[in-house]
Amino acid sequence: MLATALSASIVGVDGVPVRVEVDVAFGLPGLTIVGLAGSAVLEARERVRAALRNSGFEVPSRRITINLAPADLPKEGTGHDLAMAAGVLVASDQLDASRLARTALIGELALDGSLRPVPGVMALVSAAQAAGACDAIVPVENAAEGAVVQGIRVRGARALRQVTRHLAGLEQLIVEGTPRRDAEAPPDDAPDLASVVGHAVGRRTLEIAVAGRHNLAFTGPPGVGKTLLARSAAALLPLLDEREAAEVSRIHSVAGLSQPRASVSLRRPFRAPHHTISMQALVGGGPRIRPGEASLAHRGALFLDETLQFRADALDALRGPIDSGAVTIARVNGVLALPARFMLLAAFNPCPCGWFAVDGHECTCEDGMRRRYQARLSGPMRDRLDMIVFLAPISSFRRTGPPEDSSAVFARVVIAAERQAERQGSANADIPPGLLDDRTGFSAAVRAQLDTRARQLGLSMRRLHRAARVSRTIADLAGSTLVQAEHLDEALLHRPKEMRA
């Protein structure tokens, strides 16, 4: 007899519906899985067999064939276990098939028949929803995450037995409610700006960068506070809207980063990979394509501490995503795009010894050594930064008052972000060059000023556009509809300059 159950598989960061077809026929007893199943899927054979037996069912001693359709799509992971087990039960007449048709079954089986959580449930459930399922049963730990998807009833289950009783109509699994969102608390690992002494310019540029989602680099001698300042950005990022949040959570869920029972967070991600990271871990890829740090930082910030210590190929691989907002991975069987629209935060020393160009200090680096070091930030990468800010050593602890704390800056950032969304529906960093005109508050006078400065400072078109976007954010922070000359000048001062020896 034949049975069909619905499951889903992950491709990149998206779910794809998978039909699990089970055929039980006369023949030599055995269980065969076909349909480009990866090793974790093939091992499902043993898990399904044991789970069925230990849940009080009978494993038919007949020839069982399981096909995962579409059969040409490579499938990985353990999420198909539950659908296979249910399929076997229906095909061997141990379960009524009527409720199986429109219910997606997702989950890994333990040998004792209990359900274990799987990554990417949000993407899997939305794939099932798109395929026409009205119900989805997922491991109870994943239920809250799955319930974010609209248009489908998501139920959490603890064991195979519960699922079969539900499908047989003997028991009702509870539909998980749409997760209630608590007020977002700031991330507790982000340093508060109140603890940053001095650095008026560093704070100011950080605020601009976060408000407009511009790429910012801090440079300066060791111990000056580059990392502290950059890390405090985590608490300054404005909240995501619902659509963006779902997108971000889906990526994180696929990467297996969602906390059990956690639902969608409106916090923007702040990712700070270590500099020894490989290119594939940074931008994504690998034999089984997984989102890299660049995608995990989607809609958030990617902080590269000691930027120049990163592998050159890894750094340069970020050029694509910085331009297009997506990582493109080409494979024999097609091209895959992983979303990766992040703001880049960088921090690096100006030279190996760290004291180049610092007034009152002497750089002890050889000229060639320093040039090689600085050349690690390639021209094209430097060009993609919006601001490079030099943090000078604090000369004294004399202060004019207590430093502003993060919440005050956050409040200004939120207002500036709202202005941008209202005006062009995107962050200022993503304004297309063609839109840098009256529609975004660039008057003819300011555009003429742009031309003048481009000539005076010898700027490329890309540099000019980037500076213009930054000046738009400065104007937004100042509450100005029009970009003024002084906004433009401030943006231009922080433009990346060649560090000449």
Binding site: G198, H199, A200, V201, G202, R203, R204, T219, G220, P350, F356, A357, V358, D359, G360, E362, C363, D367, I388, F390, L391, A392, I394, S395, T452, R453, Q456, L457, I474, A478, A485, E486, H487, L488, D489, E490, A491, L492, L493, H494, K497, M499, R500, A501
Partner: protein
């Protein structure tokens, strides 16, 4: 026996006797190419034999007993001596002309007058650029390759002032101070002379190729005593310093650490009787150690300002009315603070007590107008134009 006269062909073309029609100049050039014969060796030989042709006639045997050149066998090897001086001179001349240069020997009228008095003087020079530059008043500006923002700013100011007063700036085209001095002179539109440690077809350092092109376009000259095709080594850098000092009437050391090449130029300046000036620096700055010591040891005159330097050299500072429009209040304030002392934006925010935003936009405006220079993006220095503007502010 090779017979050569000082004034052209003497023999009657005796077949295999290659050198028979070689001129004194050909022999001079060929001899100056012999490895191991430096300016000093050349001068000694010339003193003994009277003419280059006579030296050539004496051949390797004559050189061998000339200490200290003779102790390593025949300088240049036998091969060199068997060559025809006319051929050697012609091929070198052609190679030099191909790169737009010319060969100038101590026999020629074109030999820079300032170098004639040197003892020993470089026997042969390779020059690109007009000969007239060598007749102008010239001052050398030298210093370390690893210059600080202060050094670069001072070198630029002095270079600019000298150039505006019509003085040819002489330097070594090296990175750091040399480059800043040449840049300033080129920007001011006055010819400048770069003395290379390498042949004139191989601009060293390569990063200054564009500067060398600009310098030539501005009517300046590039000089080297290394022949095209010769390999270069450490001693060539040291020998170059003598020519820098020799070409100038005064040498200004802007920034020099201990054991700097600029100190060799300073020593050469004192040895050959050129005025020596040194720009002082902070006593704890490695980059200024050499300069401060020159001053302390009474070897150099302390430079208190660019203007006073010009006065001491006997020049009037070439005044040019500032072309900068009126500055805003914050811009003026920022510039005044910078003229007082260079600093980072952070310090300027602190000192002016203005908002970071307005200090930043003021600095950008000043940079765009060429009044401040962000050294390494870290420390802002007022430019020469700003210092000039300061007098009318």
């Amino acid at each position: 026996m090779i017979g050569v006269g000082t004034d052209g062909p003497t023999g009657a073309g005796a077949g295999s006797d290659a050198g028979i029609r070689a001129t004194e100049r050909d022999c001079w050039i060929a001899l100056s190419l012999v490895p191991g014969v430096g300016p000093a060796g050349f001068a000694r030989l010339l003193a003994r034999y009277g003419s280059a042709a006579a030296m050539w006639r004496a051949g390797p045997a004559a050189l061998r007993d000339l200490v200290p050149f003779g102790d390593q066998g025949a300088p240049g090897g036998e091969l060199h001596w068997r060559a025809d001086p006319r051929e050697v001179a012609r091929s070198l001349q052609q190679a030099t002309e191909r790169v737009g240069g010319r060969v100038v020997t101590g026999l020629d009228d074109a030999y820079p007058p300032a170098l004639r008095t040197l003892d020993p003087r470089p026997p042969t020079l390779f020059v690109i650029g007009p000969q007239s530059v060598f007749l102008e008043r010239a001052v050398a500006i030298v210093g370390t390759r690893r210059a600080s923002g202060y050094g670069m700013s001072v070198a630029t100011e002095i270079g600019d002032d000298l150039a505006r007063a019509g003085v040819v700036v002489v330097s070594g085209l090296a990175l750091g101070i040399d480059g800043a001095a040449h840049h300033a002179a080129v920007a001011a539109g006055t010819p400048s002379i770069a003395v290379l440690p390498s042949p004139i077809d191989r601009i060293y350092p390569p990063r200054h190729r564009q500067l060398a092109r600009d310098l030539l376009r501005g009517g300046g000259a590039i000089v080297s005593e290394i022949a095209i095709g010769a390999s270069i080594g450490r001693p060539d850098f040291a020998r170059r310093n003598r020519i820098i000092a020799g070409l100038a009437e005064a040498v200004v050391v802007v920034e020099a650490p201990d054991r700097s090449g600029a100190l060799l130029t300073a020593a050469a300046a004192n040895a050959i009787g050129r005025e020596l000036y040194a720009v002082p620096g902070p006593i704890d700055a490695m980059a200024s150690r050499g300069c401060n010591r020159l001053i302390a040891d009474h070897q150099a005159t302390l430079v208190t300002s660019s203007a006073s330097l010009l006065r001491q050299i006997g020049l009037a500072r070439g005044e040019r009315p500032p072309t900068v429009n009126a500055l805003s209040e914050v811009e003026g304030q920022v510039l005044r603070h910078l003229l007082e002392r260079s600093g980072s934006i952070e310090e300027l925010v602190d000192r002016t007590r203005q908002q970071p935003a307005s200090v930043a936009s003021a600095l950008a405006m000043l940079e765009a107008r060429g009044l401040v220079n962000p050294f390494g993006g870290a420390t802002f220095h007022p430019t020469v134009a700003a210092k000039r503007l300061a007098k009318v502010m």
